[in-house]
Amino acid sequence: MLDVEELSVSYGAVQALRGVTFQAQDGSVTAVLGANGAGKTTLLRTVSGLVKQQSGTVSYDGVKLSGLSVENIVRLGVSHVPEGRGVIEELTVEENLRLGTLWQFSHRQRRSVLDEIYELFPPLAEGRSRMASTLSGGERQMLAIGRALSSKPTLLLLDEPSLGLAPLVTAQIMALVRRLARETRLTVVLVEQNVRSALSIAEEAVVINLGRVVIADRAATVAADTQLRHHYLGF
């Protein structure tokens, strides 16, 4: 379980997060919603260790994450697909995928892990020797998620996966995420601007505004609260 308590983060004089508190249960999908600049990306970056917090605690499976390096947090089973996907263009598709397997798996195991990823994402299998720079937006998203999954994480942090994608592709990816969460007990924290599709697959929802949590509740409750939706989510 991911446990965030009274988390505060600032960039110099700018306070990005104030006293953020919520939990993400194992095997659930938690949607993190809010307007641009609300602090959603900062939240994910703090969990994965890219950003240092000023106060509060983030723990995963009882282990405190603050003070740990990014590489060590990854080794606890955390995988973060950053905003913009972070596909390494100078490498091939297969090299991108392999990169995620290196720290955990032996030579032989890596092959079978890669095969599993290719099964999940057939287009990646077809283009495995292509340079990542030649991929389309949807293919890049598949590559980014596939790469994040290649280390067999137990906590997956997704930052705006629908960004720049056609609605059909978005729907496919969301469906896949939900399937993975259900079938493999993967905990997913999903930051999204596309509120509808996020709420459609999430069990829990956290709405953030100007760095503060407005509400952290079941997704259905949040979706039903029309005032809240108007005010913070724009529909």
Binding site: E71, H80, P82, I88, E89, L102, W103, R147, S151
Partner: protein
């Protein structure tokens, strides 16, 4: 005509040496976006270590290997102590620190090993080989230089393309933050990059030393020419280091042969200025888009 042949052969062997040092510069640039102006001095220092061991009658190849290992250690130590603390700070700082390293090592070498120039024994005969009736300016030692540098290049290629470590190094160079998110220990990779670059430099030092009067600044010009070669080839391209090295070596050999050796540095300057005016990213690298 034979002058031309000799100059060409000379240019090729020199060029290979420049390529070796340039390769080290490229490693470090790719990993940390720093030009290591201390590369020449580091190589000089490890070569001095080798000659000290040779003075004590150690086996030649053991001393050779010791110098390479010393380079490995030196590169790792310098990256950890001097370079890592500067990450995230203004980009001119590492330039100045490596320049400081440059003269610090020269001063230390002069203090420890004495300033007089001396000679460094070559691994193989430096007498020119004879083909038929003509003697050419190409010796067994020059063959050794060629083989050693080619081996270095092939080894580098194999490392980067065919090993997991190489994959990690490339990822750490292209996208350090993403690499960290994938569990790559980027800090250790940087240290390793510097260590390997230093080994390349040490090798070059051992190859140059027998051909010049050996004193604490014997690598100064080599560094400068290697820098030219690296810029010519593209600071982030290992292939560019090789091609740049050969082109620079040949060009300077002709300049030295036909116009006089004092004008060689000026020749290097001219090459540099032409490259930087016409194609600043070098021959083999991809121009990066300007982020505003």
């Amino acid at each position: 005509m034979s002058l031309f042949v000799n100059l060409t052969l000379n240019g090729i062997t020199n060029g290979m040496i420049f390529a070796a040092v340039a390769l080290g510069l490229v490693f470090i640039w790719r990993a940390t976006h720093i030009v290591n102006f201390g590369q020449g001095s580091m190589a000089m220092f490890t070569t001095y270590l080798a000659v000290t061991l040779l003075d004590r009658h150690l086996n030649y190849w053991l001393a050779f290997a010791a110098a390479l290992v010393a380079g490995l250690v030196m590169g790792a130590v310098i990256e950890t102590i001097l370079i890592r603390p500067l990450a995230g700070k203004p980009a001119l700082n590492p330039v100045i620190v490596t320049l400081g390293l440059f003269i610090l090592l020269e001063g230390m070498a002069g203090s420890i090993f004495g300033i007089g120039s001396r000679s460094f024994p070559p691994a193989f005969s430096q007498a020119g080989l004879t083909f038929g009736h003509t003697k050419v300016a190409f010796s067994h030692f020059d063959v050794f230089i060629l083989i050693a540098v080619v081996a270095l290049m092939l080894g580098t290629l194999a490392l980067f393309r065919a090993t997991s470590l190489g994959l990690r190094m490339r990822a750490a160079a292209f996208a350090p933050e993403v690499a960290r998110l994938l569990g790559v220990r980027v800090g250790r990779i940087l240290t390793l990059g510097w260590a390997l670059a230093a080994v390349a430099g040490s090798l070059a030092g051992l190859l140059v030393a027998p051909t010049v009067s050996f004193s604490p600044n014997f690598m100064d010009l080599v560094l400068v020419y290697a820098f030219t070669a690296a810029v010519l080839g593209g600071l982030d391209s290992p292939v560019g280091a090789l091609v740049g090295g050969l082109v620079t070596g040949l060009a300077l050999s002709y300049v030295g042969g036909y116009l006089g050796s004092s004008l060689e540095p000026l020749g290097a300057l001219a090459i540099l200025m032409v490259v930087l005016s016409a194609r600043p990213e070098g021959l083999f690298s991809r121009p990066a888009p300007r982020r505003v």
